[in-house]
């Protein structure tokens, strides 16, 4: 019987297989950041172990880094200690680090792909759940915990429990104005936040094949919000073209050998998935969340749902709690929800295409009175590219704030936070209670919807702007 893409990549990394034990997998690329690594390095120190493969390990600073005044000492002493700890650990153990102020610094999941380190058929891990992002290249990429970070540092391997396979096939073409973000929000709303549990999802079908690498990353990024172990897209010409010429992409004959291997990384026609979900692209529309988990979403044209409409008791209770936290009432049109803050950024939507599409919407328009719009590039390279294209000027002319690269308000570990009761339209990936600041309320949206929302002050799509202006 044929194998799926995920099974092929898995099989190619088995170091040891024994009856009744999890497979021991080799890890090709280990990404580190300041939050989930200190206790792992501590463990190494205590056991007197080195980092086995510093040549397969790379670190950056992203979660705690400020997005203003980055040349000044970091105000929060606890954040500063965490960054200094990473710097010391990387120096002590010989790990390559891109600290704040470095040209390669940025959100770890933006940095790996842009350096060309994330490649098809590799295993990628990071102590961060959104490692699933890297699956867009046909890599098997898992978020891991700190104990596992230590395990990979010490052994460059991980014992991994077997997974199940799920195909999410998106037929047809995405309608105009519908983005990868809308697609993944709709998928999560369909299968639920636990629907992907235990699965590696392969996204396929015409609509996925037509997406750019960056759009594929947006989709794979949020696989974890459906509970999946990982998300993947089979590598193709789009993938190869993206990689060609990047700093760490293979060159010369190495490139040819790599591409030859990469072309084998497709699910065989006779392979069987454990579960299949089919989505018709034509039925999709701009999608936003109304609740406090990423599965609580609906098309922008819909209303806040009535909790009583949920058949499942725990979903009903979750919806009731969500509406209470979000300060919303059932039946309220989503388009009438007024926001204070718009955040464009994160490893979901902080890449150059995201900034371009948001800039296009605000260009020649103004951010509504009383709304603050934060634009935070995913990495320094993204920021430089945006500046070269003049996007920073477009944003600031519209009244938005142009910030330095990092995770920023995606999780508010730095000073960029919502105040209690404040409401945001955010291009990030999590709308959990308090995620963007204590008491803050988050609506997950695409960059286009975020930008249009900044202009009107209410959840809106770019199409709404045109209607309003005619």
């Amino acid at each position: 019987m044929g194998r799926t893409l995920a099974e092929k990549v898995w099989d190619d990394h088995v170091v040891r297989r024994a009856e009744g034990e999890p497979d021991l997998l080799f890890i090709d690329l280990h990404l580190l950041h300041e939050v989930t690594s200190p206790q792992a390095f501590d463990g190494l120190r205590k056991a007197g172990r080195p980092v086995r493969r510093t040549d397969l390990t790379i670190a950056t600073e992203d979660h705690n880094t400020p997005t203003l005044d980055i040349d000044k000492p970091i105000a929060d002493p606890v954040s500063r200690t965490q960054l200094e700890t990473l710097r010391k650990n990387c120096a002590d153990f010989g790990v390559r680090l891109h600290p704040l102020g470095d040209v390669e610094q940025g959100v770890v999941h933006v940095v790996g792909p842009q350096l060309g380190l994330t490649q098809p058929g590799t295993t990628v891990v990071c102590g961060d759940s959104h490692t699933s992002t890297h699956g867009a290249f046909g890599a098997l990429a898992f978020g891991i915990g700190t104990s596992q970070v230590e395990h990979v540092l010490a052994t460059q391997t991980l014992p991994m429990a077997p997974f199940r396979t799920m195909a999410v096939t998106v037929n047809g073409e995405l309608p105009d104005g519908v983005t990868a973000k809308d697609l993944i929000l709709a998928i999560i709303a369909r299968i639920g936040t636990g629907g992907g549990q235990g699965y590696v999802i392969e996204y396929r079908g015409e609509a996925v094949e037509k997406l750019s690498m960056e759009a594929r990353m947006t989709i794979c990024n949020m696989s974890i919000e459906a509970g999946a172990r990982a998300g993947m897209v089979a590598p193709d010409e789009t993938t190869f073209a993206y990689l060609k010429g990047r700093a760490h992409a293979p060159e010369g004959s190495g490139w040819d050998a790599a591409v030859e291997y990469w072309r084998t990384l497709r699910t065989d026609d006779d392979a069987v998935f454990d579960r299949e979900v089919v989505i018709e692209a034509a039925e999709l529309a701009p999608f936003v969340t109304w609740g406090t988990n990423p599965g609580q979403g609906a098309p922008l044209s819909a209303q806040v749902p009535d909790p009583a409409s949920f058949g499942d008791a725990s979903e009903r209770l979750a919806a009731e709690k969500a509406l209470e936290y979000m300060g919303l009432t059932a039946g309220q049109p989503l388009r009438e929800i007024v926001v204070d803050t718009v955040f464009v950024g994160s490893c979901t939507n902080g890449r150059i295409e995201d900034l371009r599409s948001a800039a296009e919407v605000v260009s020649g328009r103004q951010v509504a009175d009383g709304v603050r719009m934060l634009v935070v590039p995913g990495s320094v390279r993204v920021a430089l590219q945006a500046v070269e294209e003049g996007l920073d000027k477009v944003f600031t002319a519209a009244g938005a704030e142009w910030r330095h690269a990092g995770c920023s308000m995606c999780l508010g570990m730095n000073p960029d936070q919502l105040a209690p009761g404040e409401r945001s339209a955010s291009t990030s990936n999590r709308n959990f209670e308090g995620r963007q600041g204590k008491g803050g309320r988050t609506h997950l949206v695409s960059p286009q919807v975020a930008a249009a929302t900044a202009v009107t002050g209410r959840l809106s799509s770019p199409a709404d702007l045109i209607t309003a202006e005619v």
Partner: protein
């Protein structure tokens, strides 16, 4: 890691589904560089509410968390497990755990037990009717029992855990030392890796 064989303690009902790791331990706690001292951050936002179940005197000192479905979703932060352990929890029961959370918990010796939702409901009812109810999580017998401290248990259910994870927990074995026994396998794999695979260090 401390070995886990069996644990008996009082249970606390957490009637919420989709408890994500941001609720278990909010992000600002993640700046710490140690594995301890997270107990005050556990469910920090909810604990501000005097009605929250962990604030109830009746459940003080409970060590088995009886949680709703989809517990531990969201981020991979192992701090969520440390916070539960620092607070005093030895085991968590739910009908469904998020994968990364489950893996993290088992690596730290916090036993996560999957029971059907109907069984969790029954446990909720028992500990709500009598907060003194003792809940035993028995990894040797793969059984959860609950009832009054003396007498036959009012509730018994068996659970599953893969044999390898169970063996490691029962013996308190650390994964890294187990893996390092396979050094020869790792070296052989490394020697056979294609040259085109990426390296973080150039040249």
């Amino acid at each position: 890691m401390e070995a886990f064989t069996t644990h008996t303690g009082r249970g606390v009902p957490l009637r919420r589904s989709n408890v994500d790791t941001d609720q278990i331990i909010p992000a600002h706690w993640l700046k710490k560089v140690t594995r301890d001292g997270f107990e005050d951050g556990l469910f920090e936002a909810w604990r501000k509410d005097p009605e929250f179940v962990l604030n109830s005197a009746a459940y003080r000192g409970a060590s088995v968390l009886l949680a709703g479905p989809d517990f531990g979703t969201g981020s991979s932060r192992e701090h969520a497990v440390w916070a539960l352990q620092n607070y005093g929890f030895k085991a968590v029961v739910s009908s469904r755990f998020a994968d990364i959370f489950r893996g993290n918990s088992l690596k730290n010796g916090l036993l996560t037990v999957v029971l059907p939702q109907a069984d969790v409901e029954r446990l909720w009812e028992l500990v709500e009717a009598d907060p003194q109810t003792e809940v035993t999580v028995d990894l040797q017998a793969l059984e959860v029992r609950a009832g009054a401290a003396s007498g036959a248990p009012a509730f018994t259910a068996s659970f599953e855990l893969d044999e390898n994870a169970r063996w490691r927990l029962l013996n308190g074995l650390d994964d890294i030392s187990i893996t390092l026994r396979y050094e020869a396998d790792i070296a052989a794999f490394e020697a056979a890796r294609p040259a085109f695979k990426p390296q973080t260090v150039q040249g």
